[in-house]
């Protein structure tokens, strides 16, 4: 890839990557720090990859790992039971990940805050699963990125959606 191509890739990938990392870490500064570090490592080894094809996936995988490690180091366990009713695996209600991404929804401030709060209450792996799915990654790719068996991805995703749904339903009753 040319230097101009690298720059274009960087500018394209950065905002989404920072938003994702910020959501996983809970802090913009931590998110930016992790993204910058991951991008540097990726660029240093760019001769091994085709950044145009795989760069974004590799970046998100590396961000996910870094955020999981950060959370592990900080030891901030999240109590899933706070969200209520999220312990059962339930039927695997995994949406068809090959389907086109749903259109963007115009968020009200209240809804945005509620989503941020709901996501923040999820364990970081669950948060990663639901966010990566929303960005269009398939379960097979999620399994690689989260370093879990493919079947377990479905469990994680189902729990994450269920917990977030429970949280949002409480905030926005019928």
């Amino acid at each position: 890839m040319t230097a101009a191509g690298l720059d274009a890739w960087l500018v394209d990938a950065l905002p989404g990557a920072v938003a994702y990392a910020t959501s996983l870490t809970g802090k913009r500064a931590d998110g930016e720090d992790i993204v910058q570090d991951c991008i540097c490592r990726l660029l240093k080894n760019s001769q091994r990859y085709n950044l145009l094809e795989d760069g974004r996936k590799l970046l998100f995988r590396s961000i996910t790992n870094a955020c999981l490690n950060l959370k592990r180091r900080r030891r901030r366990p999240v109590n899933l039971s706070e969200l209520g009713g999220a312990k059962s695996d339930g039927p695997w209600d995994l949406a068809d990940a090959s389907a086109p991404s749903p259109p963007l929804e115009l968020l009200t401030d209240e809804l945005r805050e509620a989503i941020a709060e709901g996501l923040a209450k999820l364990p970081v792996r669950h948060r990663a699963a639901i966010e990566l799915t929303s960005l269009g990654y398939k379960p097979r790719e999620l399994a690689q990125m989260l370093d879990v068996p493919p079947d377990h991805v479905r469990v994680i995703l189902a729990r994450a959606r269920k917990a977030l749904r429970a949280f949002l339903s409480l905030r926005f009753p019928e």
Binding site: L14, P15, V18, A29, V35, K44, A95, I130, S134
Partner: protein, 311 residues
């Protein structure tokens, strides 16, 4: 089940995606890209060359040919126009390399009086004019002519100590230091090697014009924290570096605490005379029969500190 709900799986995915897209819009892409480039610049030259070599060998050959032509022109300009310009970052790198962690250095401490929260700190408010000796993470403050300055320091085992009198000293293990002393320790622990490394990793550099107090043949740099580094204890710094030796002669550090400016503290190099290693230990500053209060006498130690700091 879930899809009949107001928040179906598709809706949840859509909301999360919208939320991330919304937040992406608030990201300062340019600042982050600059930070990435700066981090990359700090990597070894070999790394950078390695990244490009495999993909751009042909381009490199062309570039080298063009560069050779340009070099001839640049060389002419070099000799015609004077010294080769050097980046502020490379000067800071040279200053960092010139630091010898096992050397003793003595700095005079100055605290500006106006708008400085240091002035409210019971220990730091009296520290103006004192001398700070450092060797790596060891340090000791020698009261100069200022009354009320504590004789204190940190030894090679990172024990913080305070001299109450010739016959009494207080010793604290790293985890025991009371907050009032911890703030002073944080401000005075001038581990140059770590500080320079932190500057190189997390700050950007610009040249500043040297003032009359900066001494002859010096370069002045302004180090500014890269964007979104709220946790840094130093917001920005003015560094005066000796051109010939790359030694940092003066540092004006704008300290932060809890995201708020704490004040500016200036360290000016006054001596690099070797000191005995024992001078960084508490015992060196006490009489032969002195008592040292440590964790075993924590109540007496706390009482002695209260008395020492009482107005």
């Amino acid at each position: 089940m879930s899809d009949s709900s107001k928040f179906s799986d598709d809706r949840i995915d859509s909301l999360v995606r919208s939320y991330l897209a919304d937040d992406s819009g608030a990201v300062d892409t340019a600042a982050n890209a600059r930070a990435v480039q700066q981090r990359l610049a700090q990597s070894t030259v070999a790394d950078v060359i390695g990244i490009r070599r495999r993909h751009f060998r042909k381009a490199v050959r062309w570039a080298m040919s063009i560069a050779a032509v340009l070099l001839v022109g640049a060389g002419t300009a070099y000799f015609a126009l004077g010294p080769k310009p050097t980046s502020a970052y490379s000067i800071m790198t040279a200053a960092s390399a010139a630091i010898t962690p096992d050397s003793d250095r003595c700095y005079r401490i100055e605290i500006a009086s106006r708008g400085n929260r240091f002035k409210k700190h019971p220990i730091l408010r009296n520290i103006d004019g004192s001398l700070l000796w450092t060797r790596g993470d060891r340090f000791r403050v020698t009261p100069d002519k200022t009354e009320g300055t504590l004789n204190m320091g940190q030894d090679d085992r990172r024990k913080f100590w305070v001299v109450c009198s010739e016959n009494l000293g207080l010793s604290y293990n790293p985890g025991e230091v009371p907050q009032i002393l911890a703030v002073a320790r944080s401000v005075l622990n001038l581990d140059l090697e770590k500080l320079a490394k932190q500057f190189l990793e997390q700050y950007s550099f610009d040249f500043e014009e040297a003032g009359p107090d900066d001494g002859a043949d010096t370069i002045v740099l302004r180090a500014t924290a890269l964007p979104n580094r709220p946790r840094l204890a130093i917001d920005n710094a003015r560094l005066t570096i000796e051109r010939r030796t790359n030694v940092i002669r003066k540092m004006e550090l704008s300290r932060m605490a809890d995201g708020e400016p704490l004040g500016t503290i200036t360290f000016t190099l006054v001596s690099a005379e070797p000191q005995p290693a024992s001078s960084y230990r508490l015992q060196h500053h006490l009489g032969p029969k002195a008592e040292i209060l440590d964790r075993e006498q924590s109540e007496e130690r706390a009482k002695a500190l209260r008395e020492l700091l009482a107005p």
